[in-house]
Structures are given as C-alpha cells and as structure tokens.
C-alpha cells in the first residue's frame, strides 16, 4: 500500500493517505488532478471498478468533499479518493467517459448538492426529485424538518409533555414565583 501511496503523492501530489482497514484506504487529491488519478488507478493500478461516487457537504469549511470509491479486485483493495471543491462555485470535471455509470452519480450530485459536471450526459435532468423547487436537498443548510413542518400539517391531537416540566407544574409550580 505504501508503494501506491508514494506513487500517488509523487505523481499527483496526493495527500492524507489513510489506511482505514487492510482492504480500504483513503486519499485526497486536488480536484484538478482527480480525473488523471482515477484514470491512472483504473488503467495502471488495477482499480477498475468504480463502486460509487458521492459528495459530503462540509458547510463549515465551505467545501464539498467528493468521494470516488474505486476497487481493485485483484488485490481486493478499495480506495476512497477525495477531492474538495468550492461550495459556492460547485463545478467538477466529469468522469463519464471513464465509467459508463458515472454520469448517474454526477446527475445525482447535481440534483442533491447542486454540483455541476459540465459535459456529463443528462446532468441537468431531474433524477429522483420530480418537480422539486427547493434548494438542493442534501445540502446541510436545507432544513428538512422545517420544510416538512411548513409543507405538511401535523395530525391533530398530538401533544406531548416533558416529564420534568410536567412534574414541576404539578408538584412545585411556585418555584419560579
């Protein structure tokens, strides 16, 4: 593994190599190098299988962290390849030419996080959210509970009591007096 890590850092400036398990590692590369890294991993290092790609909203740091998971069946080893992109200008290079299913993940990220992948087939088409007009729903700042409260009515008759507050009300209401 060390060898591969050194190779990636030497060739592509990859950093933060981390062995999570003996069969899973993670590494971070610059977004601009990502496609090259994945191509190299696929063609030269035997990581031919793209399991999935997704994003994590690191809203505190104002970035989206993208995760591309590749797997080498020969060595039974997987790598989570990360890169980070600006959360305010979320554009990423498409890898749809590398893997035949990559465009669906990119379409999903476009819909769920608002990340654009120029050139990716049907990237602007709706994926699972037909008729959705809200902000990209997987962004951390989209409050699904607030949305739900605003959109749907609570069934009437629901009311709950907090044990401590209820006991206070019944047993020592004067405490605040």
């Amino acid at each position: 593994m060390r060898e591969l890590a050194d190779m990636l850092s030497g060739r592509y400036g990859a950093r933060e190599w981390h062995d999570q398990r003996k069969d899973l590692s993670s590494v971070t590369v610059d977004a601009s190098k990502l496609r090259d890294v994945l191509t190299w991993l696929r063609d030269e290092a035997g990581y031919a299988h793209l399991a999935f790609a997704t994003a994590v909203d690191e809203i505190e740091r104002k970035v989206f962290r993208l995760t591309y998971t590749v797997h080498n069946y020969g060595t039974a080893h997987g790598i989570l390849v990360h890169c980070e992109i600006d959360r305010d200008r979320p554009v990423m290079e498409s890898i749809h030419r590398l893997w035949g299913q990559a465009w669906t993940y990119q379409r999903e990220m476009r819909e769920w996080y608002g990340i654009d992948f120029p050139g990716s087939p049907r990237v602007d088409e709706e994926f699972v959210l037909e008729g959705w007009e809200g902000p990209p729903m997987m962004r951390r700042d989209f409050d699904s509970l607030a949305y739900s409260d605003a959109t749907y009515a609570e069934r009437p008759g629901r009311e709950t009591r907090d044990p401590a507050a209820y006991m206070k009300e019944k047993l020592y209401p004067e405490a605040d007096a």
Binding site: R155, G157, R158, T160, R161, D162, P163, M167
Partner: protein, 591 residues
C-alpha cells in the same frame, strides 16, 4: 432444445392435488410468532413515565400524556406513553430502551377499524384486547440498550478505612465520570425530588460533554455546596432516577462531586456569576450551616451585604461538626465556604445570637434576618437512668471528634438509634478503636439512615442489634453503664402504617458498655427567640410561609429548624428560597 424441455413443465400438474399453502382466515388462525412485534403493551404501574421511549423513537410516534388516576410523585412523572400507529414502525427500540422494562409488544397484529383516529392509544391505560399478552416481543435476556450497572466508585477498603479518618470515597476519574454520566437518559424525573430542584440532567450532560465550567455554573444556580452535597447529600434524586427503576440509579451525587472536585477554587470565578452592584441593604444570617450560608450566597449574588452569626469557631454547621471527615473532608467543605466568603459574605464566629447579639438587635441593625440554626442537640434516650454520665450525646461526640478532642469512649460502645448520626457516631467510635454495637428498636430495613452507611458501618465491624427497645441504664459500678433492653418483635398494628416493635415478655437483655451514645433524634435550640421578638413558634418551629417568612415580615427561617426533611440539601433549598423572598422585600426582583 430436447424433448425434456417440452415435457418437464407438465410436472406442474402434480401440484393440483396438493394441500394449498394459503391460510383461510378467519377459519384458520395464524397467530404471530412468540417474538412478534405487534401492538404495544405497557405495565402502567411499573412504568415511571420517564419518556425514554419517546426520546429513542425515530418516528416521533410516542407522546407522553397525563392519564387519569396518576399524578406525579417521587420517581414517577405520572405521564404515560401514547403510541400513534400512524407513525410507529414497530422497531421496538422503545421496548429495548425502556429503563423500567414496563414496555413490551404483544404478538397481536390484526386491528381493523374504519376510524383512523382510534389507532392511537396509551398502552396499559386504554384497554385493548391484547393487554397482558403473554407472547410478543420482549427485550431478550442479556440484552439492554442502557447500562444498568453503575460505574463502581473507587473506595478505601473497609479494613483500611476504619484505621483512619481518610476520605473513603476517592471520587471518579474523568473516564469513570463520563461513563457514568453516559448512563443518564436526561428524562428529568429526578428534578422534582431534589429539594433544591437542581438541574440534574443539565449538569450530567455537562459532565458527559466534558464541559465542567457549564457544569459548575449549573450546580451553583441552585446549590452553593457542591463539594459537600457531592459527598453527603441524601440524594432523593437517586431514588427517583428512572434508570433506578430497572437497575442501579445514576450516581448523581458522585457526578456532582466530580464537577466540583475537578474545578480549582481559583477558577470558580470564570464560570460563576457575581453581583453586578451592591444594593446597600444588609441582611443578618443566624447560623453558618449549609442553609444559612446558602441564603448568604444568594443574597450576596443579589448585591446585599450579608453578615453571618455563628456560635462555633468554624463555619459549616452540621456539615463540619456532625459529619465525620472520612465522609466529608474539611478541605472540601472549606472550598464551598471559601467561595461563598469570596463574594464578600462576612462570618462572625463565636457570636451566639440571643446572648450576644440579641435577635432584637439584629432586627434593628439589619434590613432582614434569616434564622437557620438547625437542630444542634441530641435528645435523651428517655429511659430511667439516661442521665448516667456514660450516656453521651451523639451530636456532641461527633462535634468533639471534629474538634480533635479526646473522646474517652472506652472500649465497648453502644450507639442507640438508626439514623445517619448513629451511623456516623458508630463509625467514628470504630475509628477510635472501640468495639461498637448499634442498638436499634426496629429492623435494619426500617432504619432512616442511608442504606450505604448502614452497610459500611457493619462492614467496618459494628455489630447491629435489631429490635431492641431500651428499658433503662444502670450503673455498672466499675466506671461503665449497663444498658438494659427488651427484645422485640415487629407487629403490624395498623394496615398501611409501618410495623411497630412490641416487647417480647421476659426477653430482657443486659450488656455492659463503657459508653452509650444516644442518637435517637435531635432538637432545636430556640431560646434566642424571645416573646418580644414576636416570631410565632408552633411546636418548636418558627411558623413560616412557603418562602420562609415568619410572622415578623423581616424575619425568615429555614433549614432543619423548619422543614420536614431535615437534610443539608433541603436547608440549602430553603436558604435559596428565602434569599429570593428577602430580596423581594428589599426591593429586588428575587431572581
């Protein structure tokens, strides 16, 4: 393709003569499996209404609602969970987590109704056909989501402990405290039981999160004696703890102690508030026990100038003179007191109110007076011969021990009584090398002392003599005293009341002791209130309203002197309450 591919499918026909797989409902019954997660059942008497089921429910399918015939008391909120089957997903995490183990599920899965509103009910309260179902999902043996065992407290061994007055309980480490705090479900059922209504879930949460500054601030909001209470509190909260309904209650007291122990006195100021400005009003507090100093602390926080009058040479009252140092070391108590002092509270020692100064003088010189003089002296045994010089006052013995005086107890000591004073006296005597018998009228289970104290006293070598009614004390002629008691049996005289010891005729026992320590109860010292003061006293207690105000508008009273519970935390709560009331009469808002 061969001929088999044409023929083989006709094999299907053989099935035409087989018994069908289907269940013909309602002709055939098809009960759910014994573990089936069907409709909820709840043993409403065992349930404590803590709402942990509600907290874990990821669907928000559970509400806690008041139910008829149940009102909050002790460790029961009086609320019961109501399940909304429009939301329930039958995951049964509520059953898994339920601290008392009252929740379960029946294996009934059929419920048909045209009215959607009925699919919401309080299990165990709203009658349902599956109530009391034997079968259905229950938490498996050996499987709990919550940890029902308390993190053990490191303590000196009994053999080690009895050799010295070193503190027995060593206190939790950070890891231990956080693990213990993790057991709390933050239901808040305990808060009502605490006389001071401390924010227990709040400070436990602070321990869990490692935020001790917040923890300390929360403690001081309602209790300026966290070091002391963290060691010797009677901890009604732990009896009310929901976790205790199915296991060991959370060690609330030790967690409180942990917070106070961890923060250096010099750092208290970082997290605790101070008075914004002085009001110029003056308040006198009589008695520097926990109640008086609690009042002093909150009055000082409100900007009033507080002077505490104390007859003894050191502050702390019963915390110092009544509780042995192996339970509450003086440096810990001093830390609490020193912080109160640091707010500008002045404590005048050796000032016996009534003699010097008179209460009337205090009323004249101060804007308000708070009386918190407690119960300073032990009652007599009240049997013939109880004036014998070898019959000692339990409270006085403990005070003498605090002062480091020679106790002169001799070799064999009898301690008469079953309260904490008796246990403290017994264990103090043990530490002075005595052989100790604890003589009690009823049984061990009836003792008002903390069960832990009783256990420890016994473990340290005290012999417990139960069901012994004192008859008399005789002089033994050799510098000791003979203690005569009658063995008793417990008789249930009135249903619902506690059994009464009745002497067994003829079963009289006589034992010789070097000292007999009376610890059957303590009384007040009220001679300092004169008729001219006009403070109404009834049955040896100043009459107060719920804020602690007596019949004289500027005189307040509280603590053991007044309240029923007669423990430190109640005195502290009284002091806080009175401080707010005093502030209001002095023109403040009382908060």
């Amino acid at each position: 393709m061969d001929i088999k591919d044409i023929i083989a499918p006709f094999a299907v026909w053989k099935r035409a003569f087989e018994k069908p797989f289907t269940v013909r409902k309602p002709i055939d019954e098809r009960p759910g499996a014994p573990r089936y997660r069907g409709f909820h059942i709840n043993d409403a008497d065992t349930c404590v209404g803590c709402g942990t089921c509600e907290s874990i429910c990821m669907n928000k399918a559970i509400d806690l609602v008041p139910v008829e015939g149940r009102s909050p008391s002790g460790g029961d909120s009086g609320l019961r969970p109501r399940v909304d089957y429009g939301r329930c997903c039958w995951c049964a995490l509520c059953v898994d987590i339920c601290p008392s183990g009252s929740l379960g599920m029946s294996n009934e899965y059929l419920w048909i109704d045209s009215d959607p509103e009925v699919f919401r009910y309080v299990p165990g309260v709203d009658p349902k056909p599956w109530d009391g179902a034997e079968l259905g999902y229950r938490r498996a043996e050996g499987y709990r989501l919550l940890d029902m065992e308390r993190v053990p407290m490191p303590e000196l061994s009994h053999a080690e402990g009895v050799k010295s007055f070193l503190e027995l309980v060593k206190g939790y480490s950070r890891e231990q405290a956080e693990r213990e705090a993790d057991r709390c479900v933050a239901c808040g059922v305990c808060v009502a039981s605490c006389p001071a209504h401390m924010d227990i879930p709040g400070y436990i949460n602070a321990v869990r999160g490692g935020d001790l500054e917040t923890g300390l601030r929360l403690l001081y909001e309602t209790n300026p004696f966290p070091e002391a209470c963290g060691r010797i509190c009677t901890r009604a909260c732990e009896s009310a703890c929901a976790i205790g309904s199915g296991g060991d209650p959370v060690a609330i007291r030790w967690l409180k102690r942990y917070i106070a122990d961890q923060v250096e006195l010099a750092d208290y100021g970082k997290s605790l508030p101070r008075a914004e400005s002085a009001t110029g009003r003056k308040v006198a507090v009589v008695g520097a026990g926990p109640g008086g100093l609690s009042a002093a602390y909150y009055l000082a926080l409100l900007g009033h100038k507080v002077t505490v009058f104390e007859k003894d040479e050191a502050p702390g009252g019963m915390l110092r003179y009544g509780i042995p140092e192996y339970r509450l070391p003086y440096p810990a108590l001093d830390k609490d007191v020193d912080y109160i002092r640091s707010l500008g509270v002045e404590i005048r020692h050796g000032a016996t109110v009534g003699k010097d100064p008179a209460l009337a003088k205090l009323r004249e010189d101060f804007d308000a007076v708070y009386l918190s003089t407690g119960l300073p002296s032990a009652y007599r045994l009240d049997v013939p011969g109880d004036e014998h010089p070898r019959v000692l006052d339990g409270v006085a013995v403990l005070a003498a021990a605090t002062r480091g005086e020679e106790l002169g107890l001799g070799r064999r000591v009898a301690v008469v009584g079953g309260g904490n004073v008796a246990m403290d006296a017994a264990r103090t005597a043990l530490r002075r090398g005595c052989e100790v018998d604890i003589v009690y009228r009823r049984r061990q289970v009836d003792m008002p002392a903390d069960p832990e104290e009783i256990r420890e006293a016994k473990a340290e070598g005290a012999r417990l003599i139960e069901r012994a009614i004192p008859l008399r004390v005789e002089d033994s002629g050799d510098g000791g005293a003979r203690f005569v008691w009658n063995e008793a049996e417990m008789v249930q005289k009135e249903p619902g009341k506690r059994p009464v010891p009745e002497p067994i005729p003829g079963a009289v026992v006589t034992e010789r002791y070097d000292s007999i320590i009376a610890a059957i109860g303590q009384g007040p010292e009220l001679s300092y209130i004169t008729e001219a003061d006009g403070v109404e006293v009834r049955r040896m207690k100043p009459v107060t309203d719920r804020t602690g105000r007596t019949s004289v508008p500027t005189v307040f009273a509280g603590g053991d002197l007044v309240n029923e519970k007669k423990d430190a935390i109640s005195a502290i709560a009284d002091g806080h309450r009175a401080a707010r009331a005093i502030d209001r009469i002095l023109g403040g808002r009382g908060d």
